[in-house]
Symmetry: D2
Subunit: 398 residues, 4 copies
């Protein structure tokens, strides 16, 4: 984690702004959970999906552990066992519940966790008002809020997974919560070869993995203005794309065979037609929307079938001002690796990003489920190539 | 399943009695769940432990599926998906949720399931009052209630497992719910060799696996009047019993090494002393109570260390009138096999017991968690030799 | 292990006889391996099947470890590492190569192992001629030879498995090596109820698990004079026996589904007809021979389909003088448990049988692959219910 | 696969040269296997290590399947089953033995496979002399030989693994077969930022993944002239490097804990000192030689501990003319991804490289086990980050 909050505004104003942002972000997390039954907060169908109550506790633990404990004088932890339960992967901060066990814990209860949130929010409020916040602390607070926003999107993806893996196919809400755009076949945009610059620069928050800004040489390339649609992806399915290994990575083909994969994650072939599980329940497929819930193997196989490829993350970032993006996290052909000059922060916070820089692929953009204001053109999201449960799609390049 | 309810009392009286029993049994199931938080109903830490809400639904499904659907005219099922969710292992009755998935289902919610129970109870009440119950139906109703009583004990064992596998060690209730007796070193009782009879006979309910009564030849044997105590078992631990393979079955020794087993299931060595997780939370060990939560391998190794053995189930049954039993399910040296002349019932009910007659060991008696009136001297309980989570102990023989 | 060699003949004559038997048995083991290529000695396709070279080494290690080391003065072990490589499961005698790793060891080479056999045979010969053999030692030598005979049968079963699991289906030998009898539909023999005696008695060798002779009460029963044939088993297959769970144990049904089982182990449905892999290669099925290579689940399901059952081991032993047996190891309905009064021998030899007395079923009789003179009516063979790779079949009872 | 053999020399001369190279390469493969016992050819201790006899057959199958079948008129395959046994991963060419099963096949025997090699070599010789070889065929022949050279190195790595995982620690040969250089602490070489070119260019053979030559922008960097030595790596071990997660990727730390890793693959801590299994058996560690048999996680953790990093593959290639390389395959910080403009060849040969371009890291250079003349500065080797069994080490950069 790092940041560039070299604010020209006064410290007290910056603190005040952040306090307000803190309140909004924290409330939004709880708003996402509003439609859930208590039972929905608890289960963990697969290791990568966490129970909603864990997200609520973990994002709170972040503030308790990294902010209140070191910076709030004489702070009493809410419950000393919670570090064990809500630590996700910070090896520096003691034992943690292994990920696959999260769904086995009925306690702390949901009510306990909301009390925990209230307790921490109350102390955060006191801290914000205490006059003890220094400019050095602001970036850490920003990080905590961005961290919580990441978990807001994970709440959507994990809730969707949990409800979808229930034979009753319950809806999360009947309300329309995301704005999905309609697309036609994409125009290809041309960019000439040359030395470009990528990476974060300027004021405002960014993650450590976006730093520092640096030069890259790009050969001339073309990139689609808009993402691949459901209609286009369906052509791939109907052309037998899931049955021909020539389009797939070797690992991808193993995945297809093992999972008996034949379509994006939430597509179901029921009574002779394609249905799509959405947060509003089972529906028909909106053909002109961007394809969603595909993994890197699928994105890459589709591109191979189109005799094109995925863009690299540098190409994506250079082209971004000209692209229609923000509907789907877009798989790129770039592995998640350190930028030249990447530096880990000191201490446990330094574990935030660097230690994942192996065997993951970069996704760029943001999705309908990403909190407003969270993403930017230099943002580097990353997941293992096999994962489908994010709001992930693709854009073609050549 | 089978039964011997050749009641001399009038059908209407028998029906009335059973209706009353139905109400009591069903209420007791819910009373067991009273102290639970909603979240406790949902989780499944290991495959053999079912979520409490599943027990509530499954025992209800039994009445809906086997009683109401065939015998209540124009009965409308509460929800057609529930057969899929709450069928446990009746292959005859359609697809079922595989056992390890039970903990991934947040829906139906706990409230849904209580509504389901109410709906089924209401229709059962109508059925009882309808005048259509025949003497042929009574055994099936008895079976349903005995089935539910089995799940009452499983509720206790599964709730205990769920709460114990939480780093917070929450108590189920502070109240004392079981009556544990205190024991001294056991007296050995002698029985002469001869032809004896075992198996169920007479009136009242029994399971199919207790039939028919038959002769066995027993050589003379000795059997302890009382079960092995915690104090006695602790001697085995302190003598290095878990470190010497000579006392163990080959499979048992593999289990010890793989699980790094060193004590009964809920014993913890904390800060230099033995603690015991109970439904009232972590406590010290009551040394004069019967040892509990050991598996067959442990029971057998303890007996080998004492240079004795476990009784066979026939020895146990013959000696039972002279024994102090009822505190722990007692592992025997008998595998769970059909009695001579065992017959499966026709249809799905025939799956009740016979299909488990391989690779399981018989336990005799009953435990503090067994519903009053459920057990009898001819009762044959059975579990895989590795299981510790039942209220299981042992009694020595030679 | 135990024995009843209370020989009335002189010690030197007994020793002389045993020396001769030693030579014959040891030579026969090597004769079994004669047709093998070096490569065939090495592989281990599944954990339960050992490489032939391991059998050659292990049976030799038995004599080196239990006879030569304690009883041959100043004996030098052939190679101190061999204890580690060739110990099978004697926990008392140091570390051992875990079973699944046997197929990963290219050394010691086959030639090394034959040198090892020669070295041990030479020292055994010297021991036999030394005049130091006492009557106390004779039972141990008998045990070593019976142990080696058990591995002779395992050599056949394991070689068959190894060659059968090769896409080239190589033959072990073109020669006819086993005498298979032809059968018609079996006659049922009747036995009246009463107290009978089973277990070994008299002179000659037996394993510890056959002792001591004891009384059992049997209800009247019927048992087939001859085993079930391939033709009869084929009817079960054609009647859909592998598709109807009602005939199967719960575990057995899981096995069917997981293995996609549809026939005995070495049957293949090729180009519209049933073929059978035998030690002479792929052949058509001899319909009037006893069905072979089925596991307990299959044997039991077949019997259920015939509305009969498997005999208990006591029934089998009482009926044996009147039965045509010796073609197949016959699954019984008896779990492998200690006889009343069973005692383990002291020391590592005591691990021979007792520690396997859980989760296995008894097989009675012997098979075409059993060395002549090895089996007897009281012999108790045992395997896990899932195993098909022995020469195992069944006989009906009711 | 692709190539640049735009030879100015006459076709007949080129053919003659390639024939000679064919003979030398094929003989060298067999020379590597000379010291093996038959048994060593057969085993497969882990999925990634293939039995030597499989390498011998597979490299031969390549010529039979891709050269003789399409280009030798009326060619009769040696054995139609061999395609099933020796196909490695070419999905286009029919069913194949799954990788983990290779060690279960005792047949074809080693002698069979040598006969197969002789048969194919004979027909290749006839083909070379037939006058039918066209300039279009030459690149395919070159590919076959380069493919076989890759398997020559794999023979060394796999033989080493097989012999090392035997409790007898047998030596492959007492002779010194590799020339290991001695190193001091490395000098750091400086390179200025700028646009560079990497990728293969010019005449001679290269793999498809090295094409086409393209521009990259490099920021200024430093790179060590020589690789990290055993002495230097030992400092990392002694400083507790394997106990501090801060140096490791998250996946790497999981690997350390799961494998209980504490040193390079063949290092053993025996009787208070470090020993190293080599092809000549167990020896002490040559401290001034380059560290070997470490995986990407270890290489990366070492670099982090030194507060440096691994070079990218572009940095390595630019610096290569100034580096002392060729002792170890050197892990880079670059994931194995397609170069700009990468194109797969048509057909099964197109499966050669492209389909592995996910979840693997690039290694540059070559090792003591690489056949002479096989490697070049643009060569891109690749393995999963967890693999240690290659002759892999590292070089520092910053």
């Amino acid at each position: 984690m790092d940041s560039k909050l070299t604010t020209p505004i006064a410290l007290e104003d910056a603190t005040e702004l952040l306090k307000r942002k803190y309140e909004l972000v924290r409330k939004h997390t709880e708003a996402i959970c509003k439609p859930l039954a208590i039972e929905d907060y608890v289960v963990q169908p697969v290791a990568d999906v966490s129970p909603p109550k864990w997200h609520l506790g973990h994002s709170t633990w972040f503030f308790e552990n990294f902010v209140l404990q070191p910076y709030f004088k004489n702070y009493q932890v809410f419950d000393p066992h919670y570090n064990f339960v809500f630590n996700s992967y910070y090896e520096s901060v003691g034992a943690r519940v292994i990920r696959t066990d999260r769904g086995n814990l009925s306690r702390p209860s949901v009510a306990d966790i909301y009390r925990y949130r209230e307790y921490v929010d109350h102390h955060m409020s006191l801290l914000f008002d205490s006059g003890t916040i220094t400019s050095k602390l602001l970036p850490l607070l920003e990080l905590g809020l961005n961290h919580e926003q990441q978990h807001q999107e994970l709440l959507y993806t994990d809730i969707k997974y949990i409800l979808s893996h229930n034979p009753l196919f319950p809806a999360y809400t009947e309300a329309k919560i995301f704005e999905d755009r309609a697309y036609q076949t994409a125009q290809m945009l041309h960019f000439p070869e040359g030395v470009y610059e990528i990476g974060f620069q300027g004021e405002g928050f960014c993650f450590d993995n976006e730093l520092g800004r640096h030069k890259v040489f790009l050969h001339d390339f073309q990139i689609a203005e808009t993402p691949v649609t459901n209609a286009e992806y369906l052509e791939f399915i109907e052309a037998g794309g899931y049955n021909d290994f020539l389009f797939w990575h070797s690992e991808g083909w193993d995945w297809v065979k093992q999972q008996k994969a034949y379509a994006p994650l939430y597509w179901h072939w029921i009574d002779g037609r394609w249905m799509n599980y959405t947060l509003a329940g089972l529906t028909t497929i909106a053909m002109d929307e961007a394809v969603c819930h595909i993994n890197f193997y699928e994105a890459s196989a589709y591109a191979a079938w189109k005799e094109m490829r995925l863009p690299t993350e540098a190409e994506w970032e250079i082209a971004a001002p000209h692209l229609d993006w923000g509907q789907r996290w877009e798989w790129t052909e770039s592995a998640y690796l350190p930028y030249p000059g990447f530096k880990k922060a000191a201490g446990a916070i330094g574990e935030y990003n660097g230690k994942f820089m192996v065997n993951q692929m970069v996704l760029r953009g943001s999705s309908v489920a990403t909190p407003i204001g969270h993403a930017r053109q230099t943002y580097r999201n990353f997941f293992h190539p096999k994962h489908q449960w994010q709001f992930s799609g693709l854009r073609l390049a050549k």
